[in-house]
């Protein structure tokens, strides 16, 4: 019964969101406030109903209602509760429902915070959101319905892939969706701006915080996914340039560009058309990601069971929304009045370079990911594009961005004098080179390691230096402290985010350049030496888990001056699904990770195949990314970014 109610709610949402699409748009066209006002109600209503719908599906999973086809296929009564819940979105149909839930949530939030926005603007925004919602709801109802019942209920579910029962894996989709779908808000704002025919300060002041929210979630989601993959998948890697990973990375790159271009749009009233185009592209990349994951056109570790008919439907959606938006852009962008001039060497100039680099990166990742499809069509041959390509191409692109990042905040708007900052640049350069040289001299390293370290140091030192200059040099400690507190939070946010980038770069450089991989058979009692660590294979025992049996190895980690620690890697066998998995044992700290994987039993419990990865500074990678996200959150708490920014005019005033 609950499921039927959920199904009914979703059907209602289809009608309501169609209403939300048509009526406010008509209201905007014919200047009817009443019609436009309906958008608030429909937005709230849509969210409540989708929430109820989602809740009913979750309920079915929790009580393991195997009369529901989806639950029977994807869940199992023995699954721990948390994985039953996360199983709701661990499949195609359920994840689409989550998508729509988050979409309507954002629409409701925009309606709530936008009560004092010019009514025409907000009704067009919500109308666009309504169109997106109705498309996806109809996609769900007609091709991917999670509420279908089985005529004969199953006794037990079939969904028991042990690899999927992991906290990091369970939680990263919601974060990613909060990111992807959040970009729909800026998309709708762009459509509204194009339809109205102008972009003013209100628009930009609204766009920034919503982009920032989406960006923060996307950043966290990608970090979680990468961290999970590293800890669970057993070969010490954390990014594989897999099509699905790229599908989440491209919107992130576009959103980062958007964040920076909207700064220029806000401060200097220029680059508005470009900002709108970026917002359209960012959301389109989200849609493209949805398409890639679910259509089966590309091979991926992550893809849901692919279905070309679903793929065609999503392609239609893509054509409609992206094609429509780009067509609208082509027609109307020229009429947007462009603002002020700037010199190439200026803050605007630096931000433009940032945008060129990030946009080019997104385009490059897109090309690399889709290239096999192109070649197959043109040449009928199969080519594959993997990590070696992306790494070779992505790093040179990012180097100038990082170089610029340290100093752009020091450039003045409109026209900057390089002479003013050249001394600071040189100072930071010298110190960075010096410290890097010392490090590489002690520990040895290749040219690329040197470069990576240099860039990381350059960015940290440059950012800190810039911060001090901003607060004020030559001040007493008290004065400095007072002034520092008065700095807007967005300044702190920016510095923190940029430092996060630097930490990330250092983490990537060190963990790959100084990594040690060992792959060998190991005898019980034998010791492996890695740098100054001794790893001794002590024992192997058999262990029983809730739904698995395993061979668990006991390894001792001996370091001078530190207590001995023990690691227990396992090789598990799940009888229900007849699957063998390896559970790595990881010893983590700030300086390194020791990653131990127990392989096959080579000889009667005496010899096992062993893989050990020593990755220095690898946790700096995720720590750096989290700093970026924190920086974003910090910026959000700045007053000027409050979500409900509005003007003190009569909102009922209808402006042209």
């Amino acid at each position: 019964m609950v499921i039927e109610l959920g199904h009914f709610c979703l059907a209602l949402v289809l009608t309501i969101s169609l209403f939300q699409f048509i009526v406010p748009a008509l209201g905007a066209r014919y200047n009817s406030i009443g019609l436009m006002r309906t958008s608030y109600i429909t937005a709230y209503l849509s969210f409540i109903l989708v929430f109820l719908s989602f809740a009913s599906l979750t309920y079915a999973y929790i009580i393991s209602d195997f009369s529901v086809s989806l639950v029977a296929n994807n869940s199992h009564s023995l699954k721990p509760l948390i994985y039953k819940i996360s199983g709701v979105w661990g499949n195609h149909e359920g994840s689409l429902l989550l998508w729509v839930l988050i979409l309507t949530f954002y629409s409701a939030a925009v309606a709530f915070f936008g009560k004092r926005l010019p009514i025409k603007l907000i009704s067009l925004v919500l109308s666009c959101q309504g169109l997106i919602a109705s498309s996806f709801v109809s996609f769900i109802l007609f091709t991917s319905n999670p509420f279908i019942r089985l005529f004969f209920p199953e006794i037990e579910g079939e969904g028991f892939n042990p690899i999927l029962q992991d906290f990091g894996l369970a939680i990263h989709p919601p974060f990613l969706y909060l990111g992807y779908v959040g970009l729909s808000v800026t998309f709708s704002f762009s459509i509204a701006a194009l339809l109205i025919g102008r972009v003013d300060t209100i628009w930009v002041k609204w766009v920034r915080p919503w982009t920032l929210i989406a960006w923060v979630f996307l950043t966290i989601g990608i970090a979680l996914g990468s961290w999970w993959a590293y800890r669970e998948l057993g070969w010490g890697g954390w990014w594989f340039w897999d099509p699905v990973e790229n599908a989440s990375f491209m919107p992130w790159l576009a959103a980062t560009a958007l964040l920076h271009s909207s700064i220029v749009a806000e401060k200097r009233d220029t680059l508005k058309a470009w900002t709108i185009l970026l917002a359209i592209i960012a959301f389109s990349l989200s849609l493209l990601g949805t398409f890639i994951v679910r259509s089966g056109v590309l091979i991926s570790v992550h893809a849901f069971a692919s279905d070309p008919s679903r793929g065609l439907y999503i392609l239609m959606l893509l054509i409609f929304f992206t094609g429509g938006a780009l067509a609208l852009f082509a027609k109307k962008a020229a009429s947007l009045k462009s603002g002020s001039l700037f010199q190439p060497i200026s803050r605007e100039g630096a931000l433009v370079i940032n945008n060129i680099i990030f946009a080019s990166s997104a385009a490059t990742v897109l090309l690399g990911t889709l290239y096999p499809i192109f070649i197959d069509a043109i040449n009928n041959s199969k080519v594959s594009v993997g990590p070696p390509y992306f790494e070779a191409v992505f790093v040179p692109l990012m180097v100038p961005a990082i170089l610029l990042c340290a100093f752009s905040p020091m450039l003045s708007w409109k026209r900057a004098k390089l002479e003013n900052i050249i001394e600071r640049v040189i100072a930071v350069f010298i110190f960075s080179i010096l410290f890097t040289a010392i490090f590489v001299f002690i520990y040895g390293g290749s040219a690329s390691a040197f470069l990576g370290l240099f860039l990381g140091l350059w960015l940290i030192l440059g950012t800190i230096y810039e911060f001090f200059i901003k607060v004020g040099t030559k001040l007493s400690f008290n004065k400095f402290f007072k002034r520092a507190i008065q700095l807007p939070r967005s300044a702190y946010g920016m510095s923190l985010a940029h430092i996060g980038v630097a930490i990330f770069v250092i983490g990537v450089t060190v963990s790959s350049a100084w990594r040690i991989d060992i792959e060998q058979p190991i005898l019980k009692g034998e010791t492996v030496f890695i740098n100054d660590i001794e790893l001794r294979f002590l024992d192997i025992i058999e262990v029983n888990g809730p739904n698995w049996v395993a061979e668990r190895g006991k390894f001792e980690v001996i370091r001078e001056g530190k207590n001995n620690e023990y690691l227990f890697p396992e090789r598990r066998f799940y009888p229900a699904s007849q699957v063998n998995t390896s559970e790595p044992a990881i010893m983590s700290n700030v300086i390194f990770d020791l990653y131990v994987v127990l392989g096959e039993n080579l000889q009667n419990d005496e010899t096992f195949s062993l893989r050990v990865y020593y990755s220095p500074f690898i946790n700096w990678i995720w720590f750096g990314i989290m700093c970026m996200a924190l920086g974003g959150i910090l910026s959000l708490t700045d007053r000027k970014h409050r979500l409900g920014y509005s003007v003190k005019i009569n909102p009922e005033t209808i402006y042209k």
């Binding site: 056109v297 065609l312 852009f329 082509a330 889709l370 499809i373 199969k382």
Partner: protein
């Protein structure tokens, strides 16, 4: 002039869509690799004899002077068991000569499969460590090559040959080659 640039994103997007649509409509499985050995001579392979069955090597293909199949199979491979009946059909009813390469298999298990389910193979060889199959570009079992009378590879079928594959793919191709 600026107006034209504004249409560029739309243009690129449509080019993208065309490629996607083609991919979807053709419904290709992106994980299936077509053979790069098409129209090339079947490579030499060094195989071991399986019991007393006639040993397969490259010369057989030329000697028989007619199109044939080379099938890579193992006793531990489930789809191979399923396609076995269709191999038998092709061998018995359609008089097609099928050569077998037993891939990374145990001698006894292989012999048992043939004794139990029948032997569709005109000649068989064993590739014990899988290195010979690498020369053929094999990446999974079962795979089947269609060879023409002059010993050239004309088609590679990845995966088991089931009824549909036999009637709609393999047999038509063989007939086409025969008529040449």
């Amino acid at each position: 002039m600026r107006k034209i640039y504004l249409y560029l994103p739309l243009l690129f997007f449509f080019i993208l869509v065309i490629f996607f649509a083609r991919q979807l409509i053709l419904d290709k499985d992106p994980s299936k690799l077509p053979s790069v050995l098409l129209d090339k001579s079947f490579p030499s392979v060094k195989l071991n004899q399986l019991d007393s069955y006639k040993l397969f090597n490259k010369e057989n293909l030329l000697f028989i002077g007619e199109p044939s199949l080379v099938n890579i199979w193992s006793s531990w491979c489930a789809p191979c068991q399923i396609e076995h009946e269709f191999l038998m059909k092709m061998s018995d009813e359609h008089n097609i000569k099928i050569f077998g390469i037993n891939y990374k298999d145990d001698k006894t298990d292989a012999i048992n499969v043939l004794k139990l389910n029948g032997n569709p193979f005109y000649a068989i060889g064993r590739d014990e460590d899988g290195t010979q199959a690498i020369n053929l570009g094999v990446y999974g079992v079962p795979e089947t090559f269609i060879i023409d009378a002059s010993g050239k590879i004309r088609y590679k079928h990845v995966g088991p040959i089931l009824e549909y594959d036999m009637n709609d793919i393999i047999l038509p191709i063989l007939n086409k080659i025969k008529r040449e």
